[in-house]
């Protein structure tokens, strides 16, 4: 008998009836965009707004200047590269000798008001490394991408990609003396630029 068969033989003996279940979602304020922004800021993410896509390059440049990140390598996700026509994207995949970009700019699948999270799906237009390797992650969000609950974000996914990353604020740790410190292994800064429309 294989290990699998042996495990299943024991498991089948302990089977019981299914349980009737309900599914509750937390009640949320009506203004989802305001709620998203409030919750995102509570996780130490920062926010900016632009009226349309044309405003994005300037908003990015301003943000980087305001955080003293001039002269840095910027990697733009292929899916939104046309929004930043003047940027020469740095290589995405680093190796031991090349640290890769310090800043990544990506889109998202959805922004979740309930938790202030953004949902990323891996694929040719959005390599997962962009979400984790840089020091700063800039996320472009369209207001019509803001959904209420986590469940509403999952349904945007038709087929599961290799990796879904639901990101709620910048990387953090409290492993030393329970003291919160941002930028453990992932980005130190998560900046969302919200585009109307």
């Amino acid at each position: 008998m294989s290990s699998r068969e042996r495990i299943f033989a024991t498991l089948y003996e302990a089977v019981a009836e299914p349980v009737a279940m309900t599914h509750t979602r937390p009640r949320l304020d009506d203004d989802l965009i305001a709620l998203f922004e409030h919750n995102a800021q509570a996780t130490a993410a920062t926010l900016d707004h632009v009226a349309d896509e044309a405003g994005l390059p300037d908003a990015l440049a301003n943000y980087l200047a305001s955080t003293n990140q001039t002269d840095v390598g910027i990697a733009v996700a292929p899916g939104i590269a046309d929004l930043f026509p003047a940027l020469h994207s740095a290589p995405i995949q680093p190796d031991a000798t090349h640290p890769g970009a310090e800043v990544s700019v990506t889109g998202c699948i959805a922004a979740v008001a309930e938790t202030g999270s953004v949902l990323m799906a891996s694929g040719p237009t959005h390599p997962t490394t962009l979400n984790f390797l840089p020091e700063t992650h800039v996320v472009i969000i369209r207001t019509n991408q803001v959904v209420a609950h986590l469940e509403d974000a999952w349904v945007m996914i038709e087929t599961m990609p290799r990796a879904l990353n639901l990101i709620t604020g910048p990387s953090r740790t409290a492993d030393i003396e329970q003291t919160l410190q941002l930028g453990a292994h992932g980005p130190r800064r998560l900046h969302a630029i919200v585009v109307a429309g």
């Binding site: 003996e13 302990a14 089977v15 599914h23 292994h185």
Partner: protein, 474 residues
């Protein structure tokens, strides 16, 4: 440092006398308890969600084989592989086997409690493979060569000075490190060192918080991002998970997510909630080329068929230990193994055998606080009591203890006689004790009194008082 569940008493003694540890415990306890309380207060639906989360886990356990078959099919369909391990040794063999086949030299490892349970690190190291823990807490205790003392915050017992010392010893950059004392600098230092690990590792190992049956996905939650880097950069990604972790769909996983982080760290959600399904797709630029899930039984299927079944609902949030007065006094190492606190008092004797952890089930006042906070409603005190029964039946407790219980049973079965004896004893104890003070010793009972006082008996028994009260009420 070596700890063993068999040495619970001496380890607990040592912990009580360890000043630094006591400071760390006080800080940790109030931190965790307050954060959870705040998070729970901020979500009016919390208790409803907690009940639903319990039902989800009970339901999943009730039809575990079906869900596991579905999960397996999902992983295969997404291009991954599933391995089944009946026990820890088989799980180690499987993981080491994959590593050797891929000629892996270096493993970037995310935190996995079941990985600790099966002892995967020593097995990989014995095979000549370098293993680096990448969760900061796990990394710290790996350097210190200690087991985790908490399932969520493994290095919660360490002070910043101790961490600075460890880094200075191991990172070999003495002058600069001597100056490292602030927490931000220490975190930065770990980030720098571990980034090299991520970029050079050829195998990534992580745990899994939930297995999603309908899509064959693995849900992993972390705050640091180390789990994702371990899962993304190396060529091969291995997930080690207990077979009980499966849930039907993302909907159920979502309810569990809503209670998990709030119970653990007081966050509405951890920073990173990731869902891995299969290996990288043909068009992907990043991600592992191979994806393996090692499903570990190691006593779980047998537990499911036992009276301790409910323990398998556990989602490893750590709330039970954070709210446990015994854990709060002695910390996690005293329990001697991977799982400390109330959940460990059930899991450890079960997984290792009661004879290897004879005292754990008794290190409990049955105050019930753990069950009140457990996000999946595990009746921990009942299970700890059931474990005591089990130990009694398997004769692991001492002869003296068994003798006392046998005597007590004899009296307790004769209520009239019992009442009479109790009244006599209460009166005798009352005469023995100085009024207002507690009893500090009794002949023969010196061992029992070593860690306890007996409040002065008032000379009357509870039965007397009740009888009087009832009479008064009439």
């Amino acid at each position: 440092m070596k700890f063993s569940p068999r040495e619970f008493r001496s380890q607990a003694d040592a912990a009580l006398n360890d000043r630094t540890l006591q400071q760390a415990l006080v800080r940790a306890r109030s931190g965790f308890v307050n954060k959870r309380a705040k998070a729970v207060a901020a979500l009016p639906e919390f208790e409803v969600l907690r009940a639903e989360a319990s039902a989800i886990r009970v339901d999943a356990l009730n039809r575990l084989p079906d869900l596991l078959e579905q999960f397996e099919a999902g992983v295969l369909a997404a291009g991954g592989q599933v391995h089944w391990a009946t026990d820890a040794a088989e799980a180690r063999r499987i993981v080491v086997g994959i590593a050797q086949q891929r000629e892996a030299c270096r493993v970037a490892k995310g935190k996995t409690m079941v990985g600790e349970e099966i002892g995967i690190n020593p097995a990989l190291e014995a095979a000549g493979i370098n293993v680096v823990e990448t969760d900061l807490g796990e990394y710290i205790i790996q350097l210190a060569q200690e087991p985790p003392s908490h399932i969520v915050a493994p290095a919660v017992h360490k002070t910043r000075e101790q961490v600075a010392e460890l880094f200075a010893q191991h990172h070999r950059r003495d002058e600069r490190l001597a100056a490292l004392s602030g927490i931000p600098e220490l975190v930065d230092e770990a980030r720098r060192v571990l980034r090299e690990t991520f970029l050079s590792a050829d195998l990534g190992i992580t745990g899994g918080n939930f297995l999603v049956a309908d899509s064959g996905s693995v849900v992993l939650v972390t705050n640091e991002g180390n789990g994702d880097l371990s899962a993304t950069l190396p060529k091969t990604h291995i997930v080690i998970a207990g077979i009980e972790k499966v849930v039907p769909t993302m909907t159920e996983a979502t309810t569990l997510l809503r209670v998990l982080a709030r119970s653990a760290t007081g966050q509405p959600l951890t920073t990173y909630t990731s869902v891995f399904t299969g290996a990288r797709r043909a068009t992907d630029e990043t991600g592992p080329e191979e994806f393996h899930v090692v499903l570990v039984d190691n006593g779980r299927s047998a537990m499911l068929a036992s009276e301790l079944r409910d323990m398998l609902r556990c989602i490893r949030c750590g709330a039970c230990m954070n709210h446990c007065p015994v854990y709060g006094a002695i910390g996690g190492h005293a329990y001697g193994w991977v799982y400390p606190g109330p959940m460990g008092q059930v899991l450890t004797p079960w997984l290792l055998g009661p004879e290897r952890a004879p005292d754990l089930a008794h290190a409990c006042t049955l105050n019930g606080h753990c069950a009140q906070v457990c996000p999946v409603g595990i009746p921990l005190p009942d299970l700890i009591r059931a474990m005591r029964v089990r130990e009694h039946e398997s004769h692991v407790n001492t002869f003296a203890e068994r003798w006392v219980f046998q005597q007590w049973t004899w009296w307790a079965k004769r209520p009239a006689l019992y009442g009479w004896a109790l009244r006599a004893k209460a009166r005798w104890l009352h005469r023995l004790a100085r009024p207002g003070s507690a009893l500090r010793r009794l002949p023969v009972w010196s061992a029992w009194f070593r860690g306890r006082d007996l409040p002065t008996p008032q000379g009357r028994t509870l039965r007397d008082l009740m009888r009087e009260k009832l009479r008064g009420a009439r």
